[in-house]
Symmetry: C2
């Protein structure tokens, strides 16, 4: 472990895919906890598609990261010093500690986590915001019903893989859309999806016609773009589309592609609804307990794709996320557990 | 009145705006009512944006009009002969009698109407499907709440003008979007809209920022295209967009323009929901009674734009609809009351 705190800061607002020069790698002394604060040694940093949006100017559902700031990221770590009554040395914690090795925190937004229940990186995935997003997006926004036909895009990712498994647990027929044969096989053979469509090799529209002959009741969309347009042609009456993200569009330099088949919403009397997981913060605990229970029963598989390599690997790992190189939750290790 | 029945039949499926040659003007003997049928002399034919969709191949929310068929249209008229127990000579009726002067009907889908309560063309507008569309689109699909800020596009049209007035009656703040100063003045000065935006003269996005400073709670969309994209930038948290139609896109030859700002649904936790009025058929009577009551109280103004000229004026009148030449419900007179 280094005697200094290494950090990744936003140097410039990218156009299109982030470039190495959009980051500044800085170092400073390890910060010390003041009154009401604790210090944490970060073990794992979360890499999420949403990060791309945070790099743009202007507030969206959350403020932009300012130029010069440590890049925002969810992270887990271990408390090394504390002047906060709620956190003791040795506690493991989650918060948006940022892309760095050490942080201090006043406790707001920090959650104590239990490494005996699940490995630390799981708290960045299935038991963290991606899991919460899948849970509330599917059950609340998507209003999942028994025997629904559910389609999930980005299905081998952190959110999609959990959303599809929850849908299976709840008695739905589940079709995943992912890129590549390996991911697709993982969905059907290990996660129990009823079908998987490899969008890189198949005509998604045609494949959906076969896999969902009576139409799609719930579409959990993580990708937008052409895949959203394809699913729009296969909606069942009263379908619900959950707009969770649009990773195919985040790096577009010629504007977002709107869904040109959106008038299918009219024909199918369907809805398209946006969701932001933060709205469910008061219910995270209950959802995490249910997800952890399913994991213990072996009904929900949590997979993390952990990149060893520390902060210097951050940029390439982020590009790998947008290239769809990960299966499961993408995590960067920056320190020991 | 002619001794023969003149008809407008679909001759070819148009690409883009319908051409005169997409129609065949035919004549045949006036049809006679068989057992269980009645004959009707049509007085007024309804012209609706939805007609453009019916001219395309393939079923949508309703079957396409086949080549050679009399063009589908709602119409009102007077029963001239009847072998149907439910309809007597002299009764006034509404049904989708088509673009012709006479029709026979077995009663299915036919509704008796009362010309002492409202002029016949009103049954093609405020007390007909456009009024029903406005009523159920706003109150059911749009889930209108007291003090909502409501935006209506195509606001000077048959559906939009009623939707905006219902919203006012229900205690909302209402902004209409229409083309031209005259229409806009009609909305604010006669219908009581709180504001009107002339999309031909104003920057809709900027005008909305002024007229709806705290955002839009319900957007009743009849037009799609650029205006939908503009409203998407001004959504309030939890906004509901009602997709009723997209008249700006119906004649597009290079594909429908999808709403490129649809990710605002996520930021605003908003929804976009399609509606088809036929789903509410069982409740038409109740809604029409309420609308008629508001008309009698002077709280709801019904305006019809009646084109005299008979079937030979059909094509030009339809083009006028797509050019936005009408204020209120566009109706073609084809016979006497």
């Amino acid at each position: 472990m280094s005697p200094t705190n290494h950090q990744v800061r936003l140097a410039a607002r990218p156009s299109g895919l982030p470039k190495q020069s959009d980051w500044n790698f800085t170092e400073e002394p390890i910060p010390t906890a003041g009154a009401g604060e604790f210090a944490v040694a970060i073990s794992h940093v979360s890499l999420d598609p949403a990060m791309r949006g945070w790099m743009n100017a202007g507030a969206s559902y959350i403020d932009a990261v300012e130029i010069g700031d440590v890049m925002r990221a969810g992270a887990v770590g271990r408390v090394t010093a504390s002047e906060h009554p709620g956190f003791a040395v040795g506690d493991h914690v989650y918060s948006d500690f940022g892309v760095q090795e050490y942080a201090v925190c006043d406790g707001r937004g920090a959650i104590k986590i239990d490494p005996s229940l699940a490995p630390l990186p799981t708290y960045l995935g299935t038991l963290g915001l991606p899991g919460m997003t899948a849970y509330f997006g599917l059950l609340d926004t998507g209003k999942l019903k028994l025997r629904d036909t559910v389609v999930v895009s980005g299905a081998a990712g952190a959110v999609g893989s959990v959303a599809g498994q929850i849908a299976k647990i709840k008695g739905a027929r589940v079709i995943g859309i992912a890129g590549g044969e390996q991911k697709c096989r993982w969905l059907t053979d290990e996660l129990g999806f009823d079908a998987a469509i490899d969008y890189k090799a198949e005509d998604v529209r045609r494949a959906l016609r076969e896999a969902a002959p009576s139409g799609v009741d719930v579409y959990f969309d993580n990708v937008g773009g052409e895949i959203l347009d394809a699913v729009l042609t296969r909606l069942a009456r009263g379908a619900r589309i959950v707009i969770c993200g649009a990773v195919s569009q985040y790096n577009a330099t010629d504007g977002v592609r709107g869904p040109s088949n959106y008038l299918s919403l009219l024909v199918a009397r369907a809805s398209m609804t946006g969701m932001v997981v933060f709205d469910y913060a008061a219910e995270y605990g209950k959802a995490a307990a249910e997800l952890a229970g399913w994991m213990q029963e072996g009904r929900l598989i949590s997979r993390e794709h952990i990149v060893e390599g520390g902060l210097s690997a951050f940029h390439d790992t982020l590009l790998g996320l947008f290239a769809g190189e990960n299966t499961g939750k993408l995590v960067l290790r920056v320190g020991s557990d």
